[in-house]
Symmetry: C2
Subunit: 121 residues, 2 copies
DNA sequence: GATCGTTATATGTATATAAACATAACGTAA
DNA sequence: TTACGTTATGTTTATATACATATAACGATC
């Protein structure tokens, strides 16, 4: 498998001075979407349930609307899924990320040439 | 009118898994370039000299070559300036940042529209 | 040699962040 | 009712980060 070459970009969206959404929260949202629960997503990311829950809570508060809808109790104990807004948030982030990396590719290559390629391994 | 309304982008360059360069370090480099010393740059950014020095040291180590050249002692007690590499690093970062914001503008506006309008339900 | 403001370094103290652990509430199904 | 796995919410501990303070070395200038 091919790891992303360094240097690479990471993009954050500053929704307000105290609230940003970056690659970590987006990966968590994606994991929730594919796992069906916060706790399973946390396990998949090697993250404690509490941390995952706190991040979800933070995301929902940063945006003015819930990105994750949660059900407590019920079949299988409950679960969580992305709201339509949450889905579009992830999609938008990924699109922005792709656009940014595309736009920056030349400069990053030049930077890599300056610094020297480090092939770890 | 102020330049960037929220949400806005912030871009980091991951030079290696443990070393990133983002808007803070770039602003520090720019302050050093315009102030002529680490300590003056720190004062200008309301940052302790130690913190500024540590950041410069980190930058110089993250990259494989110095971005800041320092002179201890001498006229005015010494000073610091950007190396040619440091100058190009700043220029490249700012160019990447502009490209990224340009590429993401539409999506950010859509996101702003989503978040700005609070729809309960 | 004394002065000056800088670089360079060390140490201790707050503060913020993350991890670890514990426990209750929930709602479906057996 | 009981069991189950989840959401929800604490409390405590540990770690990392930032801050404050102190001090020495440096080298041109006076």
């Amino acid at each position: 498998m091919r790891k992303s070459a360094l240097p690479s970009l990471s993009v954050r969206i500053d929704l307000d001075p105290e609230g940003r959404i970056g690659p970590g929260k987006i990966r968590l949202l994606e994991a929730i979407a594919s796992c069906g629960s916060i706790s399973a997503a946390g396990r998949a990311m090697n993250m404690s349930y509490k941390r995952a829950w706190d991040l979800v809570d933070e995301i929902n508060h940063i945006c003015n609307r819930p990105a994750v809808e949660r059900q407590t109790g019920g079949k299988n104990g409950g679960g969580a899924m992305l709201t339509p807004f949450g889905q579009s948030l992830v999609a938008r982030y990924r699109k922005i990320e792709r656009s940014a990396e595309n736009a920056a590719r030349k400069e990053l290559q030049a930077l890599r040439a300056d610094i020297g390629v480090r092939t770890k391994g």
